[in-house]
Amino acid sequence: MSSKKWLVTFFATLALLGGGVLAFNFLTDPFGVFPGALWEWPSYEMTLNPRSAKVSYIQEHHQEYDSYIIGCSSTSSYPTEQLNEYFDASFYNMFMYGADMLDVEQIATYLIENYTVKNLVVGVYIDNAITYDTLPDERSFAIQPAVTGEDPVDFYSRFLFMDPRHGLDKLEAMGENTYAAQAFDVFDPDTGAYDKKERDAEFIGGLEDYLAAYPAFAAYPEGYRIMDEGAVAGTLESLARMRDLCGERGINLLVVCAPVYHEYMAYFDWAQVEDFYTRLAQVTPYWDFSLSSVSFDPRYFYDETHFRNCVGEMALARIFGDGGVYVPEDFGAYVTADNVSQHLEEMAAARPMEEGAYTAVVPVLMYHDVAEEGDPSVTVSPERLEEHLAALKGAGYTAVTLEELSAYVEEGAPLPEKPVVITFDDGYLSNYQYAWPLLQKYGMPATIFAIGINVGQTERYKDTVHPITPRFSYEQGAEMVASGLVSVQSHTYDMHQWAAFEEGQARENILRWEGEPEEAYREVLARDCQTLREEFTAGFGEEKVNALAFPSGQWDQLAQVVLLENGFDITFTTQPGDNTLVRGMSQSLLGLDRYTVGEDTTGEALLALVANARG
């Protein structure tokens, strides 16, 4: 072909190929740098590049928010719901993993200059004294030119001429997306925070178990960190500029220093720490949570450097003086240039609290039917039950309600010396006939986990001909609840079915069927929770339906997450074992273990079990 024809062919091919790649990268936009991609998936994009993807998100959704909280990843743990309540505002969490103060300043300035900002919360982490103005990765850490003033050609060409595998990954991940957070989508785009719904549904209790699950804390890695004068100066200058900007615009600025795990804090030279915090106080007053008794308990941390959402809740409660939330005495201080030296002395003196001062060991007993006959390992005769109650009383145990457990954990209310929780599963009529009078006699409260659909069924399982052990009715239950000694809670409404007598696939437990779409499953479980709550509130006069015993003791992470979302924040397994409740950590009310007791268990044996739990 002629040279002219060759050139035309060349440029046509070039345009075709180049245009194809460009278009694909633009449309998939895995890093969330372009507005309005075809396959928009904010959570994925934020994971790949929290900075740009969040800016893109806010560009579209800024009307929904009027306040922002910005900082590095630890800033994720201050719940926006709580901020909204305290500030009476609508917060978005703009935190970015690995953020240095320059990132924070750039984003904050951009938001202030372009959108409505009433309140600005800036999270400071001790690492801000090490890094400033860094770009560890030119795609994951890049911010749009609109924010940074970078050359747009340079910036966008990085994303347009990028390996299309990034986009392919995104499409592939779309197929593998689950309700739970996965490595490729760790954000909750609505709040901007990390999607911690699973981490916050983990069963946490005894310290030993925690260390086994998180070995990093058992053998904390050796290390040291040296503060960098350039980073410290840069961080403080950025903060000063933000302070001035907020002052000019009448924006409410709150600076919060994040809790640091004590062994990580030990990486630093104390003189440098003092220097950093002192100079920080000269720039702006701040709330400091860096080092306190909380820093010493790994259960308050997701990992070596990130504190849990529940700790963020305590911090905010301290700032806003919320008396309804438990906050350890030494947790948090308002630091100004005047009191900083005194504060640093207190900080240096921070020590762990005694276990007993903020944790409690609570054994839980699990009964079923109360009858003379039946499987002696689970069924108990009224006589044996009475023997149990008497033995407990005699040994100085106090039966407590679930509400008391909640109050201990959430508000820090006291628990009696030797607490024990008594529970009955399934909602048998015998609970009403035999157990209730005994409970009344001994003045011991108990919780019954009834199956909603079976309430009042005395002869047959549902519409079948199959006989059923009789269950108490709504009237009978209401009578017990009214006495104040009994609480009827959930054993699911209808997710403890007998497979043999169900048409089609049965719900024998709360787990998702194999292959069942997550969406449908969550719907089913949510509806079950709702129906039960409505029925129990109306039928039993139960004020608060928030506890559930897993049918057949079966559970998984997803089930627990959905339950939490539906207001069931105390759950019970059928595993024998001790339970440690931790103040300020509502998660410690999840997955409580229970000792199965029956006719076989003598009073003595029962006391041994319970004592074991204390042990």
Binding site: M1, S3, T9, F10, T13, D137
Partner: protein, 524 residues
């Protein structure tokens, strides 16, 4: 400004467009403007050095031109006297031009090294004081454009051609944008007329230019940039690897260097060709060199030629060396006696070539290595010839050629340890490790995949090199790639566009650092 940046492509495109629209006599101005823009974007105020060099050689060129004319136009009876007087002045001018340029080059590139070396000496002598250290940025391509400019002055001194009277034009010769950063080191009489001519753009030249540039981009982006990752890993911390992996690092460095340098030159020549400008060849399939001398005739040709014309010849024919030659012939005699002065000059040249690369003991050693080997070969030539006769080796046998090529590759490979290792002693230690503790199993037990490249990437590099070797082999045997292509059907020709473009896109441009999304976010 990197050749691989979008901005460079944009600049080339814009320059081509304006060039074709501009009136013929202004076209060199377009090139000058593009060149200054290019340098400004890459080096900002260091563009001052370009003006400095252009200014000094411009003025000395004019002075030399005047002296040459004086000498030529002198009446016959005074000619001798005038010539003698002029000779002195001409030498003075050329000396100054060299001093002003190489002096600056020395200061910018070598002073810190010298200071570092002298400081302990000074300290030991108790002289006290601290030698000042330069913190000036090394301007882009300074070694290239200065050598090119000094070549111009020397040529004018030798009266090869009259000096350029238009400063702008000379500035263009010094700063022509495709070449200013990495050569080739052009000759004024070869390049300048083409720059000033203002030829119309021509479809053929555009096509050939694009093809050449594409080939260059292939070598640079697909092969060299990829290999760089592995090289970086191994050379950044050679102590962590066994000898075989170190050798692999050097091997990939050879590939990287060749791909990067020759690829860059192809882009340079390709871009120039789009404007209808033919630049000097800088690489002539060095992979097929049969000896180290041959290698230097094929590798970085223009540097070698510069050294030959402006350093080696004058040195070889200089009086002191001539006297030395006479002395050695008389007292040593034979081939050896004849060859000693030449060997000395040869050795010096390679030494200078070594230092030209940078201020560092490693480069000095590199120069030494090349100089020593070549000189040795020169001195030993009679013995070699005798051995060959004794062993009945036929010089023209194919297997002997292969042997020569492999031998040369091996020697070049060894030399590369010196230029790439972090320090000279490390380089020597690495060579020792390679032969004494290779830990060969590292090559297949997966260690190779921990060096920053996947098996796929390594495969791409090797396959890419195979393509390069195949094409060069074809050329070496006299094949004309472009002409052969042009004889093919439309479809094949289209494939020859689409496939390279696709390869370039998929394996070059779009490579970036691809991190699977699962890896980007690993830790809260």
């Amino acid at each position: 400004m990197a050749f691989t940046s979008l901005a460079f492509l944009a600049l080339v495109g814009a320059a081509l467009a304006v060039y074709s629209l501009a009136p013929r006599r202004l076209r060199w101005g377009v090139l000058l403007l593009a060149s200054l823009t290019f340098y400004w974007l890459g080096g900002r105020w260091t563009v001052g050095y370009v003006f400095y060099t252009a200014g000094t050689v411009y003025l000395s060129g004019l002075a030399l031109g005047r002296l040459n004319r004086l000498r030529r136009e002198a009446p016959p009876e005074e000619r001798k006297a005038v010539a003698a007087r002029c000779k002195k002045q001409r030498r003075l001018v050329v000396l100054w031009a060299c001093l002003l340029n190489f002096g600056l080059l020395y200061f910018l590139k070598y002073w810190n090294f010298t200071a570092e070396m002298l400081q302990p000496l000074l300290d030991r002598l108790g002289a006290g004081g601290q030698l000042p250290v330069s913190h000036l940025l090394l301007p882009l391509g300074i070694s290239f454009f200065m050598f090119q400019s000094v070549g111009y002055v020397i040529d004018v001194y030798r009266d090869k051609y009259p000096p350029e009277r238009n400063f702008g034009k000379l500035l263009l010769f010094v700063s022509f944008f495709p070449q200013v950063v990495q050569g080739p080191i052009s000759r004024y009489d070869q390049l300048a007329p083409q720059l000033y001519q203002g030829r119309d753009l021509d479809w053929d030249q555009l096509k050939y230019g694009i093809q050449l540039a594409l080939w260059g981009y292939f070598k640079k982006l697909v092969i060299a940039d990829r290999a760089a990752v592995l090289v970086e890993t191994v050379m950044g911390d050679p102590w962590s690897y066994g000898g075989a992996v170190q050798a692999a690092g050097v091997f990939f460095y050879c590939i990287q260097l060749y791909g990067d340098f020759s690829g860059g030159i192809d882009i340079t020549r390709g871009v120039a060709q789009m404007f209808g400008i033919q630049m000097a060849e800088n690489f002539r399939r060095p992979l097929f060199s049969t000896s180290l001398t041959d290698f230097w005739r094929r590798w970085h040709i223009t540097l070698g030629a510069w050294m030959r014309d402006y350093l080696f010849y004058p040195m070889s024919l200089s009086k002191p060396l001539g006297r030395l030659g006479k002395w050695t012939r008389r007292h040593i005699g034979g081939t050896l006696g004849k060859i000693i002065p030449t060997s000395l000059a040869t050795f010096s040249i390679y030494f200078v070539i070594g230092i030209w690369h940078g201020a560092n003991w490693r480069y000095i050693a590199y120069g030494f290595w090349n100089g020593a080997l070549i000189t040795l070969a020169l001195l030993m030539a009679p013995w070699f010839a005798a051995w060959k006769r004794a062993l009945r080796i036929d010089d023209r046998a194919a297997w002997y050629k292969v042997f020569q090529v492999l031998r040369t590759c091996f020697l070049v490979f060894l030399g590369r340890y010196l230029t790439r290792a972090p320090r000279l002693l490390t380089a020597l230690w690495m060579i020792k490790e390679t032969f004494l503790h290779p830990q060969l199993s590292d090559l297949w037990n997966g260690t190779m995949l921990t060096l920053g490249l996947t098996g796929f990437d390594i495969g791409v590099i090797l396959a890419g090199m195979a393509v390069v070797v195949a094409v060069e082999w074809y050329q070496e045997r006299g094949g004309q790639v472009r002409l052969t292509l042009e004889r093919q059907s439309f479809f094949v020709q289209w494939l020859a566009i689409a496939v390279p473009l696709a390869v370039l896109f998929c394996l070059g441009i779009l490579r970036g650092e691809y991190i699977s999304s699962g890896f980007i976010y690993q830790q809260f």
